[in-house]
Amino acid sequence: MSIEEKQQEVIEEFAFFDDWMQKYEHIIELGKELPLIDAASKDEDHLIKGCQSRVWLNAERSDDGNVIFTADSDAIITKGMIALMVRVLSGQRPEDIANADLHFVKEIGLHEHLSPTRSNGLVSMIKQMKFYGVAFQGTKQ
């Protein structure tokens, strides 16, 4: 599935929710389900420090050269948002990640989590994911 198809999938999934509460309950659930990052990767090197919550991000190459992301956060709502980002961007080609327009966040009404004023580490995490996309382009693995 392409990044665009994954985004559409998330948008459809969120279309079922009538109110904010169901939406956040789902985000919290996703946060709880997000596979934990490898303990070895939960260190200072992988830490993206937000003022409000902390995020850890690790990127690896799969055999086909695509990028596999794993991530974690100390706040569960941030973690739920991370789960969505990982779902959309992980397993994709580096150049597609670098060029991705993550419009789904706005369409599911959660773009306020990407406001720099929230300082939750998410904006920096997306930047970092795209940076990996750029850095991995043109390299084999």
């Binding site: 956040y24 003022c51 409000q52 569960i76």
Partner: protein, 411 residues
């Protein structure tokens, strides 16, 4: 409404704050982030409008009519602040951009002149970064040492440890009157008296005290007292630094420019008298004028009446919050002002703050610019609710419902 609320007419106070009458995420706004910044009454908003519509001009230099109107309105605030703080002279009242700016002025002017290698600077464990970092900068520059007055478990400063630290004869003692993170009211008068006995200069960060306490700088006997307008129903971008006249007179200017000089040649300048020596450049005239209006507004209601109202709100909220499973109050000092800092179980403050926001309740989450304090308490941060003159018990009821809902969703 209870009997006490009929004497304090909170509805009448509230009606003067147009911003409160709005919905956030489809719910009526409950603004409980007053310790970060309070909202502004119509009188303050109108003063700003009036100034720009009718008499804006640069001050102190112009001979024309508007310049004189603007100058006298601006200087009137100085007179009002002098009275409000019970300072002994207008010259002791310096306009700044806020508390942080005032403390930096002390550090860069008084500190540069007086702090030398090996000196001791004493700060408290409760300090905001703004009463910490300016001292770290000057300490590093001069080779001075910083020590910290520790806390007890209630979040009060350990007065015995303080007395012991004073035996090392610090050059300077800096602490806040009221803690922004925990709401602890420090015994400022006794702490100042003890510091003075060892010959220390005393700086008090009054940012959180001015909206809640009647402050008398002569009674406190501190050398400096700094506060911001925006936490006390006034505008952002303006604050006051009080300094004892003889201390200010002995200090070199910090910023250079217009207004602060008496004569200038290409080689050297002689400096203006107090308070203008410390007020280089065109000041924040409109907000300075409106700050005076904000003080009048507070005094019109009465600071003790506001404090009493906030105390009732704090007590009422604390009682109801206690019933929530896993509730952990952070900071349980005997003397507190308008702040409840807390955690619930192992819920991250950011998560609860986000859900409260969805339900229209504005709170502060995080380390409150007191990272060392949070480290000392062994927590990543707290959720903080803080009350102002216009908050109501009805809002607390709505907040409690939202809090219970949020906790349920996150448990």
């Amino acid at each position: 409404m209870t009997g006490t609320e009929t004497t304090y007419n909170v509805d009448r106070v509230r009606a003067q704050f147009p911003i409160l009458n709005q919905e956030v995420h489809g719910r009526p706004l409950v603004y409980f982030d007053n310790a970060a910044s309070s909202q502004k009454p119509t009188a303050v908003i109108e003063a700003l409008r009036e100034y720009y519509n009718h008499y804006h001009s640069n001050i102190h230099r112009g001979v024309h009519h508007l310049a004189q109107l603007a100058t006298s309105a601006y200087e009137e605030t100085r007179t009002k602040v002098k009275a409000h703080l019970n300072a002994s002279a207008r010259e002791e009242i310096i306009f700044t951009y806020g508390t942080t700016d005032g403390i930096n002025l002390i550090a860069q002017s008084w500190g540069r002149k007086n702090i030398t290698a090996g000196d001791l600077i004493l700060i408290s464990a409760l300090e905001h970064h703004s009463n910490m970092v300016p001292w770290q900068i000057i300490a590093e520059e001069k080779g001075a040492q910083i020590k910290v007055i520790p806390l007890n478990d209630a979040g009060e400063l350990d007065q015995e440890a303080y007395a012991e630290l004073l035996q090392d004869e610090p050059k300077l003692v800096a602490f806040n009157h009221v803690s922004n993170a925990l709401g602890t009211v420090n015994p400022a008068k006794a702490m100042t008296a003890a510091a003075k006995q060892t010959g220390a200069t005393v700086v008090i960060d009054g940012a959180q005290a001015i909206p809640h306490l009647q402050v008398d700088v002569q009674d406190l006997d501190c050398d400096f007292y700094a506060f911001s307008g925006h936490k006390a129903y006034g505008p952002t971008g303006v604050g006051i630094l009080y300094g004892k006249r003889e201390v200010l007179e002995a200090m070199p200017p910090w910023r250079g420019g217009g207004e602060m000089i008496s004569s200038v040649s290409y080689e050297r300048s002689t400096y203006n008298d107090l308070p203008y020596k410390f007020e280089a450049g065109t000041p924040n005239i409109a907000d300075g004028i409106a700050l005076g209006v904000a003080l009048d507004w507070m005094n019109g209601i009465g600071i003790s009446a506001i404090a009493q109202h906030e105390h009732e709100l704090t007590t009422y909220a604390t009682e109801q919050m206690q019933a929530i499973d896993g509730m952990r109050f952070i900071g349980t000092a005997k003397e507190k002002a308008g702040v409840i800092s807390f955690l619930v179980g192992d819920i991250h403050p950011y998560d609860l703050g986000t859900l409260l926001d969805q339900m229209g309740v504005a709170v502060r989450t995080g380390h409150h610019c007191t990272e060392p304090l949070m480290n000392r308490l062994g927590i990543p941060g707290t959720i903080r609710v803080s009350f102002g003159a216009y908050n109501t018990k009805h809002e607390i009821d709505r907040y409690i419902v939202a809090l219970e809902q949020g906790v349920r969703m996150l448990s």
